[in-house]
Symmetry: C2
Subunit: 429 residues, 2 copies
């Protein structure tokens, strides 16, 4: 793997390279995506099923688009019982963690004035689940369960069918375990458009979440504003911040766990210890040989794999903040102390037994995390994504009377006389 001394130039170049992977940089696909969206918006089901025929080579129509109870039962027969068991354990951990994120409505009151904030779950949410080479039941759980915990009334799912017109069995089982209400066998930008605007078969939702390819990502961005969307997902990232106390085998294995996702994935080690850097590099070579996704790993390490040796822990930490990685592992003497200095990271794993895949599958926190430096301003997917707030304002006559002249003055100074009038009229003689 590329091993470099951490300098300002090296860092700038790395940051520049990482940001270029953003779905925002694929505007050449925008026109095609927009035309798919417009077709579905206008011709609804007809367009939706035509695109499904074209892109997924599956014959889907209004009579078979919705997954039936029988199809779900069939799916259970196809998957390993052990998987169902593990899904249920993971579900429990994920539900418990997310339940702690729940916010209450609140109000304050004094002397005729009541102010507050009302929390209401979204009514209908659409979860997108990709097909093809990326059938991940864990992802279904991570997208659906926070909505469930939030109290969303109806959760629908869209997932592309296989050529035989069936959905992937693992997806169906995970969706059923997570409590999805309805599953539609459509995918791609056409599915996003269907959920954003509604068709005869697919109902319009309030928010769309879930990962997908570049078409799906751009379609989500295009419909943002008509519906809510989760953050725009880029390629996976792992950043390990380690000192001389780290075990090089563990560090190497963890870097590889993200490098295997796809060729755009990034795996970066920032360390204060040149010896560790060397050993991690050796372990990576050893492990890679034996891993089934060797080819992807080699490409992604070649593209975005870095081992950076920093002069000091402060410099290393500051670089981690600049990278703002999706996953950050802190494997140092005092990981919690280091954590207090971390400003930007989707999920932070502390200590040598907190391996990143623990968070992907099992611990409870969400694995849908901000990528591509967006951890500077985006948060992990969570219950907050499935609620909205309304401000609550109630003043008595006396409370309004106390302040009405100030309001009238303020409104008039902004030349909004009808605003002023609406206050004045309540105190006219």
């Amino acid at each position: 793997m590329r091993m470099l001394t951490l300098t300002k130039d090296v860092k700038e170049e790395l940051l520049d390279k990482l940001i270029k992977r953003s779905p925002n940089n694929y505007s050449e696909f925008e026109e095609r995506v927009n035309s798919i969206i417009n077709e579905v918006k206008e011709r609804k089901d007809d367009a939706l099923f035509e695109f499904t025929q074209k892109f997924d080579r599956a014959s889907i129509n209004k009579d078979n688009v919705l997954v039936t109870k029988e199809e779900i039962e069939e799916a259970y027969e196809q998957v390993d019982k052990k998987l169902v068991e593990v899904i249920r354990k993971a579900k429990e951990n994920i539900s418990i963690y997310h339940a702690k994120q729940k916010q209450n409505s609140w109000f304050t009151s004094e002397n005729g004035k009541l102010l507050g904030q009302k929390v209401t779950p979204l009514e209908r949410v659409g979860v997108y689940v990709p097909g093809g080479k990326a059938v991940y039941p864990s992802s279904v759980l991570m997208n659906v369960l926070p909505a469930k915990v939030a109290g969303v009334e109806e959760i629908i799912m869209c997932t592309p069918p296989m050529e035989n017109g069936k959905a992937y069995a693992q997806t169906l089982v995970a969706a059923n375990e997570a409590g999805v209400d309805k599953i539609y066998k459509v995918g791609g930008a056409q599915a996003i458009a269907a959920m954003a605007f509604g068709t005869e078969s697919v109902p319009k939702v309030d928010k769309i979440v879930g990962p997908g390819n570049i078409y799906v990502a751009l379609a989500k961005k295009a419909v943002f504003g008509y519906v809510g969307i989760d953050s725009i997902a880029g390629p996976s990232e792992i950043l390990v911040l380690a000192d001389e106390t780290a075990n090089p085998r563990y560090v190497a294995a963890d870097l590889l766990s993200q490098a295997e996702h796809d060729e755009l994935a990034s795996a970066i080690l920032v360390t204060t210890d040149a010896e560790l850097a060397q050993k991690v590099d050796e372990e990576i070579i050893n492990f890679t040989k034996e891993l089934s996704r060797k080819e992807i790993i080699e490409k992604s390490l070649d593209n975005y794999g870095y081992i950076l040796v920093a002069e000091s822990m402060d410099e290393a930490i500051s670089t981690c903040n600049d990278i703002a990685s999706e996953h950050l592992e802190i494997v140092t003497k005092n990981p919690f102390e280091v954590m207090t200095k971390i400003k930007n990271a989707g999920a932070i794993f502390l200590g040598e037994y907190s391996s990143e895949p623990l968070g992907d599958y099992f611990a409870g926190p969400n694995h849908v995390l901000p990528t591509n430096g967006t951890a500077r301003f985006f948060s992990p997917l969570g219950v907050d994504d499935f609620i909205k707030k309304s401000s609550i304002i109630s003043y008595s006559r006396e409370s309004l009377e106390e302040v009405y002249k100030d309001i009238v003055y303020f409104a008039e100074s902004e030349k909004l006389t009808a605003h002023a009038n609406s206050i004045k009229v309540r105190f006219e003689k």
Copy 2:
């Protein structure tokens, strides 16, 4: 004003009309906006100042783009002392309300496992403040103060200059009172691009908030993903839900308070009382004659003014939920009971003395609210918009050992063998 019996058809037509006002429907401007953004991204300050010359007819350069202490002092001399006083009172109320929105970092721990969520303020935020006919100091407070309360390290502001190269005095005073760190005299899509990508003069920010014209709205949407943005603002809306107990003069005055904003603003009354409907209509005619923004009001009422008479309170409430208005006033016998049935609204005003402008200026809750039906999934601007979260995961060796076989199984079932390996390696003999 248009007075109609509330039927399904009337409602559908109204909803369709309202949604057409969305900034999403102005894609004909997209190309121009994108070209401005690309110019600024590539040529930075040079492009930024050229556009400022072109669109604002002001000569701004790197030496005068930043508002000086002297300019702020000058601004204080130009505005009424009373305005400063009222701004300070409003600031206090807004700060107190938003302080209650603050979320804490939290963790849970048991037996070797620690899970949590770390809350971190954004580092640098950019607030956009329009110029021209819409200089609203109240809007400055509402955009800046939640960021202040959240603990954002640096708040910068962009606002278009007048032809003499100065910023609007009221904007400067409000910005200074709210605690803005730096103010740049640039506006439009070019200012949004400058804050999203950085130029020699204007630093790159993590998130951009604040209202603006269609160019600003589209520019914000275009840079979404590179930086965070607040919700995409559409025209103002007021919806009054009233029964026979409402005072028609108050209702009329409140409807007009939003109608005066601009020609796209909507003012809708839904009532169960036909007599009230009639009286409100008369009062609107009376008030409008005397109001200074008569022409705007007449156009917006003509476009989007509706008085709808519903058969029952349940039907009326359901229509309010479908409209999902920016502002909702509930003026009924039991407003709090009705409120429990409201799912979608930016801000809810209860009772006849809770006039909407009270919320615009003074009560404390934010006046930056979801418009255009987006209250179905967006929330009022608040402290949450200026923080981000990181998940925290820390497992001991023993805790990981308890679950490691399940994780390995799950990863292998998803064919992610490097994920499985990163767990296995920790327990290899």
